[in-house]
């Protein structure tokens, strides 16, 4: 079940639109991610909302803004090829994305020295300082894993089973959690993104009785695990990182799951609420961290173009100049970068899913 799939626009159309870009014509950005994944689609919607709002307000200096969407499937080799296309297309001024850490790591090498990329939800620690041309609006997994481990400890968890999607994101976040978690890690196993062997792992957990299952993964494997846990009546709490924000897609299975999210639609700040309402109005659903981060990534790049134009180097320099003092406002908080390209002052909001909503959890800071 994937409720987002139907909203994916034909790729060719966006390509045609993108091909019309030029120096003085419409401003064009590239965006790549696994748009067939729920979190990928959420990313895209966040970007589309930003795009619609900007063009509705008259575009950039009177010219319409265009985003060329390319699906990398979260795959490093495809991401690298798409990155090369973006670099080679002179019309493209900057890249939003990529969405996943593995794709971003592979693509970062290609962008280096050519075009600035602002990753949305690629949170792998391996991305920290990977290239002066690569920025991200999500905090690093090394920090997120620490936040999540401390949250688990605050909840009194002592026996944790760790599952990770066997990719850069999963490995990075899981490793960070394992290093920080003060209790016992009874197992540390890789899974695939489909959750193929969820039943085996849940069966094993039923035998070994951990009090917490930490999953460093995304929604499909997450839902598979939650489904198996419900079927096999596993009593442990589930805790996921930002990759798990999409599990709310199945409010029944997801009920009670703990999620460390970069954004919650219940955020009471006015700019956050304005965004939530706009998103609801457009897509008839609540935005998650993916959408909010993609929205912010577009906003900061557009702010840069407004400031220095579409020249790639100037734009990169402007982005690198967004220190804590030069931050611009975003729906996920002030947007600023460390020299490593990581965001300044970002951290997760710890939530528990209640009735299909990421509600701030007890024990969250």
């Amino acid at each position: 079940m994937n409720p987002f799939r139907s909203s994916v626009l034909p790729l060719t159309l966006t390509l045609l639109v993108g091909a019309c870009g030029s120096e003085r014509g419409p401003v064009t950005l590239g965006m790549a991610g696994p748009f067939e994944e729920g979190f990928g689609a959420a990313n895209r919607r966040g970007a589309e909302l930003a795009l619609a709002e900007i063009n509705a307000a008259g575009g950039l200096n009177g010219e319409p803004l265009t985003i060329v969407f390319r699906d990398d499937g979260g795959d490093g080799s495809r991401a690298a090829a798409i990155a090369q296309e973006f670099v080679d297309d002179a019309a493209i001024s900057a890249v939003i994305g990529h969405v996943t850490s593995g794709a971003m790591i592979a693509a970062a090498k290609v962008y280096d020295g050519h075009i600035a990329a602002v990753a949305t939800t690629a949170s792998s620690a391996a991305l920290t300082g990977i290239s002066p041309w690569v920025f991200r609006v999500i905090s690093s997994d090394s920090a997120n894993g620490v936040d999540l481990a401390r949250f688990a400890e605050r909840l009194g968890k002592r026996r944790a089973a760790v599952l990770y999607e066997n990719d850069t994101y999963g490995r990075g976040l899981a490793d960070s959690f394992r290093r920080q978690f003060g209790g016992e890690v009874i197992t540390f196993d890789p899974i695939d993104a489909d959750g193929t062997d969820a039943d085996v792992h849940i069966a094993w957990f039923v035998q070994r009785r951990p009090d917490l299952v930490f999953v460093a993964g995304t929604e499909r494997s997450g839902l598979a695990l939650l489904r198996e846990a419900r079927r096999q009546q596993l009593g442990a709490d589930f805790l996921g990182g930002d990759g798990w924000t999409g599990v709310v897609a199945d409010p029944v299975l997801a009920e009670g799951a703990l999620v460390g999210a970069p954004f919650t639609s219940l955020d009471s700040r006015p700019e956050a609420q304005r965004f939530v309402e706009a998103f609801r109005a457009r897509f008839s659903e609540d935005p998650d961290g993916n959408a909010a981060l993609a929205y912010d990534a577009v906003q900061i790049v557009v702010a840069g173009i407004r400031a220095v134009g579409t020249d790639r180097t100037a734009l990169r320099d402007w982005l690198a100049g967004r220190t804590a003092e030069q931050a611009i406002p975003g729906v996920t908080g002030a947007l600023a970068f460390h020299a490593s390209g990581d965001p300044v002052g970002k951290s997760f909001v710890m939530t528990r899913i209640r009735n299909g909503t990421l509600a701030p959890a007890e024990g969250a800071r």
Binding site: G76, A80, H201
Partner: protein, 566 residues
Amino acid sequence: MNQLLGTIRSRLIVGFSLIGALLIVAGGVGRAAITGLSGEMGTTLESVRRETALTAALTTNVAQELGAAVRYLDRGEAADLVVFRSAGWAAHEAQRGLNASPGLSAVEIGLVAKIDERLSAIESALAAAHRMRDLGRAAAAQARAAAIRGAEAALTADIARLGQMRARHLDQLTDEMQQLAARRQDLLLGVIFGAIILALLIVISTVRSIAGPLSLLVRHARALSHGQLDVRTHAELPGEFRELADAMNHSAANLSRIAAVATTTSEDVATSAHQLTSAAEQVSMAATQTATAMSDVTQGAEVQVSSLRDADTALQGVRLRAHEVRAGAEEVVDLAGEIERQAREKRAEIARARALLAEIRQSVDRAATEVRELNATAENINKFVGIVSRIAEQTNLLSLNAAIEAARAGAAGRGFAVVADEVRKLADQAQEAADDVVQLTAIVTRRVGTTTSAMETGATRVAEIENVSQGIDGALEAIGASAEQTRAAAVGLGETADKNVAAVQDAAAGISSAARAAEGHAAAAQQVSASTEEQSAACEEMSGAATALLRGSVRLKEIVASLRTE
């Protein structure tokens, strides 16, 4: 630039600075090239070494991981699981390292990502298989493991492919390095070659800039040494040579000027010497003449003195004769007065005779005029008679014709023939009268002619008498004048004789004083003679000095003439 390269010194400084700079650049470039090359080679080699190590680590760890996984499935030993996990983690680390390493192409990055993806999938499957074995589902576990054999083969193949790509990449890098080294070498050679060319250019230019001007100046100096002071060097020369050439030009000009002055001076000196010599000679000559003249003066003075004494004596005689002349003159005056008086009386008589003659001549003239008029009247009578004669002839002819006509007319003309005959008779009578008149007139005319010639003879006689009387009057007048003049002369002679007496007395006095003066002159002339001789000696000395001066100036002119000046 011209200013900069104006002198040989600046040329050399600029040139060698350029060479130095080029050599420094060459050195710098060479050093940079070598450093850069070794740096790049080091970096590349380090990168290659790292990538090779990572590739090896990836390969090894994957092999270990898969081996351990299989062993765990077989034996269930926890140690194998630890190896499975740690080797797997290390394989992913190696993959991440490869991903981050700078030398990988997009294709290689893609391949590494693919390897990671395959490995991840295999790991997930194996992890599940391990859990199945833990749960006692050994068969299912083995089946799960078997299901990924294909994926394992693909993984191995990808790793092998990565190795091959790395090897190719290494070859390519080697080529690039070699090309880079070759380029650096070319660059270095180029800079060195440039420096050599520049050095050669500078050397050639400097040698040229020295040799050319030098030969010019040598020629100039040689010309100067041969006395050709008109030679100048005006060519475009480097600074120092320009200064030298200017100095030589200046010296030559100065020498020229000096030579010109010397020539003029020597000419002046020669002229002066000539003038001096001739002046000396003139002075000498004059002195000699003076000496001669002086001796003449001396002698003359002496002669003069004696002459003057003689003159004084002679003058006494003159005075006596002057008194005699005066007496004679007075007699002459008296005689001349008598002659004059007689002449005047004779002239008065002659004047009266001349008046009578004039009256006679007038009467003769009047008679002659009347005769001539009579003669003219006779001719007029002759003319009138001629006319009458011709009328008579015509009338005779006319009467003849009338008679003939009357005869023809016969009886009718008989009366007319009588008339015609009467007419003819009348005409004959007229002709006879005319002939008588002519004879009478001819007689009158002859008589008149005789009278006329007699009258003319009388007139001529009167004129001759008149002329004679006029000549006598002139002679008498001349006699009177002469007598007057003689008298005046005699009076003048008397006066002159008186004056002569006084003059002779004055002269006698003058002669005495002149004699005294002449004696003084003779003495003075002797003194002048002596000093003139002294002056003559001095002039000879001066003349000798002038000759020496002339010789010197001639020598100077010869020397200067050997110099060729402007």
